[in-house]
């Protein structure tokens, strides 16, 4: 794979940018929203040819800073220089920043779902032949970009049919199409798997060599250490420190981010198990996984690892009654059950924390209380018909407090809460329902370090209360740190189960890629 020649995507004649020159300079930037100071006197410099990691908790001001740089937000005071030229902030806009060669790729998709990947890449910048769109030229150019990124994505189908990682690649292709000087990657990898992330790193390296400056915003500190040359830490809108990545390590970084030291990332895994709560035998899902066996006991966390296309999410949904099962058996508490719907699954004691918390986990029109109590509404009854609103609010309040949720009112809409707080509500739904088996699909996706550790602690607490947890995660470290056993899937089949001494990154990675050392 490595010996494929990078293809030049640049139009001929464009000079390679000089390395080490400041591309973006932000000086004394303050950004005030009504009642909040999102950025307070922040300085930031991005040099050509470097990848600059921007880290901080949710609400620390990373995205706000990025938005100031691209002109989506207008800073209240401060100065901005692009490529050495001062910018007139009063007239600065996204349009101008694009003309200056600043591109941004968001975590949330900004693609048009119904149209093809090809058109998505070129939308607004169609190539013309006379009065007509030159599809052939666009296709060739798109193919070159994909080849350059060493990715194989079907650009002919509407992007809604593409997988998350593939869509992310379409977004990236769109961003590097226009000869950008500066590329801002805002949580790009939050929804990606390890293999795809490595791919992104490789692309970043190539772009760096061409003299581009890259601002890399991520919650995954490992990525910052792996991929970035320099870093800037923000905390509560204030600039904490900038420096070279080679001078720091993870604990130091964490300390700067959350303003305190974290002694233990992962608590000792619970080793006291009860009976088998959930068992799956020979489960085969329509157009997805085949012949899956797994079991999880009371007090146990099992992990499911797998790359994109391993059908982990489908497996979880099938157990939860939301994906068609064509063959196989599911046992809960030793009894065989035919789960017909999520409703049925919930009655049997299952709870699902879905991977897309905004579209699957929460109702964005609802407040905290209504979201938290939604799976349990039938439990708060007065005279068997009427809702007991007070008891409902009390229960929601108790769980929100237990979760250390930061909120001012139970009636508060969930839309504006941070990712970590939203995820806490999704988990609280099932704690309130008193579910026994928690199916968690990437529960720490896109949430900050502090909130991640809180989720880890929560998972640990749940096991000590005798709950069983099935944890899907793209982060191997997380799986190793939290799970008693890790099941590894490859293209819909179970490759291996690791526990004890075999539970290492190396062993898991081999199975992830379909290399089986187990002889199973």
């Amino acid at each position: 794979m490595e010996n494929i020649q990078p293809v030049k995507i640049a139009k001929a004649g464009k000079a390679v940018l000089m390395k080490g020159r400041p591309l973006i300079e932000v000086k004394n930037c303050t950004m005030e929203f009504p009642g909040v100071k999102a950025l307070d006197n922040v300085n930031f410099t991005l040099l050509a040819g470097e990848c600059h990691g921007l880290v901080g908790e949710n609400g620390a001001g990373k995205s706000t800073l990025a938005k100031c740089i691209i002109g989506e937000n207008r800073m209240t005071s401060g100065e901005l220089y692009v490529d050495g030229e001062p910018i007139n902030l009063h007239s600065y806009s996204i349009r101008e920043s694009q003309a200056l060669g600043i591109a941004i790729v968001h975590q949330e998709f900004q693609l048009m779902n119904e149209i093809s990947g090809l058109e998505n890449i070129f939308v607004g910048h169609y190539e013309n032949k006379g009065p007509f769109i030159d599809w052939k030229a666009m296709r060739q150019r798109a193919d070159k970009i994909l080849e350059f990124m060493q990715c194989d994505v079907n650009l002919n189908v509407p992007v809604k049919h593409l997988r998350t990682a593939e869509r992310q690649i379409v977004q990236l292709a769109k961003a590097i199409l226009n000869e950008s000087k500066v590329l801002i990657l805002d949580e790009l990898t939050a929804v990606l798997q390890e293999k795809d992330i490595e791919n992104i790193f490789r692309i970043i390296n190539i772009l760096k060599k061409r003299g581009m400056g890259i601002i890399y915003i991520s919650h995954r500190l490992g990525e910052i250490l792996d991929c970035c040359d320099t870093y800037t830490v923000l905390c509560d809108g204030k600039h904490i420190q900038s420096g070279e990545v080679k001078d720091i390590d993870k604990p130091k970084l964490i300390k700067m981010i959350i303003g305190r030291e974290l002694k233990q990332v992962y608590l000792p895994i619970n080793q006291e198990f009860g009976e088998v709560l959930l068992e799956v035998k020979g489960l085969t899902g329509a157009n997805a996984f085949r012949n899956i066996d797994l079991q999880v006991r009371r007090g146990e966390v099992i992990g499911i690892a797998g790359l994109l296309g391993a059908y982990k999410t489908e497996l979880i949904h099938a157990i939860f009654g939301n994906h068609k099962i064509s063959n196989g058996q599911v046992f809960i508490n030793g009894k065989e059950v035919k789960i017909k719907s999520p409703e049925h699954a919930i009655k049997l004691g299952l709870g699902l924390v879905p991977d897309e918390r905004r579209s699957l986990g929460l109702d964005m029109l609802f407040d905290i209380k209504d979201n938290t109590t939604l799976p349990s509404i039938d439990r708060f009854k007065r005279w068997r018909i009427f809702q007991d609103h007070k008891a409902e609010a009390k229960a929601a309040y108790d769980h929100s407090e237990r979760m250390d949720l930061s909120y001012y009112s139970l009636w508060q809409n969930v839309k504006k809460l941070s990712g970590g707080n939203q995820q806490k509500i999704v988990i609280a739904k099932w704690m309130l329902r008193n579910s026994d088996i928690f199916l968690m699909d990437e529960p720490t996706r896109g949430i900050d370090v502090g909130a991640k550790f809180e989720i880890y602690k929560l998972i640990n607490d749940l096991t000590r209360q005798g709950k069983a947890i099935v944890l899907v995660s793209p982060e191997l470290e997380e799986l190793i740190g939290l799970c008693n056993r890790v099941y590894i899937m490859f293209e819909g089949e179970m490759m291996d189960i690791v526990e004890g001494k075999r539970k290492t990154q190396e062993v898991i990675i081999d199975s992830l890629l379909g290399i089986n050392n187990n002889g199973k």
Binding site: E343, K369, D370, Y397, Y408
Partner: protein, 325 residues
């Protein structure tokens, strides 16, 4: 005790400030302002008779709008409503006048027919995964065809006088339709605000996938909304029929527009998941007051359509352009 105090603080409805309060009750504030304004300027408007008249005229359209409210709340739309009105009216009169069935039997029969239409609508949309606009447009035309085949388009008159009570009777000073509307609105308000089923409508309309994964039977809820709509529409249609004592296939023509205006006026989000029964009632009264005032001032029918159109546009514009968080 500390935590109890904290709970009280955090479960206060409008801790978000007066803005949230204003957004929730904007329509009511506008309505009251309008009433005061009209009462001050017009001596005919503020007579008891006129007020009771407004209430009576608004009643059945309000009941029908409450039906559409449930469908819109679940992020669907029922276009077949005007046909259900025509169907109920003509078949009811047919059963009673032509076939000589007792009134209560005829009522049960037309109710059953409406329930069937509601189920068909629901199944087409929920199981058939048809866009509700298309699915109900189809049933609208099919029903229309059927009742025209049945009646030839002619009205059937000669319903017994006693049936007139439903649409024009009085209990003491209060017109019966107003009482009926108030009772139905009260029951539906309790249903939406104080029962699990009621909350499910909001959950389905707000985010159907999240609702499904939270264990709500989204298919049942979706179909039930259509059935509820058909039943309420049938009640409204019977009331309208009783006013003239004749079955008329044209009874529902042009009503859909008023119903939509009322539902949206009442603060119901067209994308589903937001709205209240009380809002629909206020919306119906709102529209009726404006119609009434226009009649008093002497605006002709065609201009009334124009004014109503402008109102709908204004309300939808406000709804689409104010963010509620």
């Amino acid at each position: 005790m500390e935590s109890n105090k904290d709970f009280k603080a955090k479960s206060k409805r409008y801790s978000g400030g007066w803005r949230a309060f204003f957004q929730d009750w904007m329509i009511l504030i506008l309505f009251v302002t309008m009433i005061i304004l009209f009462s001050l300027t017009s001596s005919t408007f503020r007579t008891t008779n006129n007020i009771l008249n407004i209430l009576r005229q608004a009643s059945f359209i309000a009941i029908i709008s409450m039906g559409e409210f449930f469908v819109i709340l679940t992020a669907n739309m029922d276009m077949s409503l005007s046909s259900i009105i025509g169907m109920v009216s003509i078949f009811f009169a047919g059963f009673v006048v032509t076939m000589g069935l007792p009134i209560w039997v005829a009522i049960v029969l037309v109710m059953l027919m409406s329930v069937v239409v509601g189920i068909v609508n629901g199944v087409l949309v929920v199981y058939g995964k048809m866009p509700s606009f298309i699915g109900t447009l189809v049933t609208m035309n099919v029903i229309k065809g059927l009742y025209f085949i049945y009646s030839g388009g002619l009205p059937i008159s000669g319903l017994p006088e006693s049936f007139n009570f439903l649409g024009a009777g009085y209990v003491g000073l209060m017109p019966f339709p107003v009482i009926l509307m108030a009772v139905i609105a009260g029951i539906l308000n309790i249903l939406t605000q104080h029962t699990a089923l009621g909350r499910s409508f909001y959950a389905v309309g707000g985010n159907i996938e999240a609702a499904k994964l939270s264990g709500i039977n989204v298919k049942f809820v979706g179909i039930f909304a259509f059935v509820l709509c058909a039943i309420l529409t049938a009640i409204g249609a019977l009331g309208l029929t009783s006013k003239t004592l004749s079955g008329n296939v044209m009874l529902g023509e042009n009503l859909l527009f008023d119903v939509m205006t009322i539902v949206v006026l009442g603060g119901t989000s067209l994308s589903g998941g937001r709205g209240r029964i009380i809002g629909v009632v206020i919306g119906a009264l709102f529209l009726q007051v404006i119609s009434n005032m226009m009649v008093l001032v002497g605006v002709n029918t065609y201009w009334q359509w124009v004014v109503k159109g402008v109102i709908l546009v204004a309300v939808v514009l406000i709804d689409a352009n104010t963010k509620r968080d």
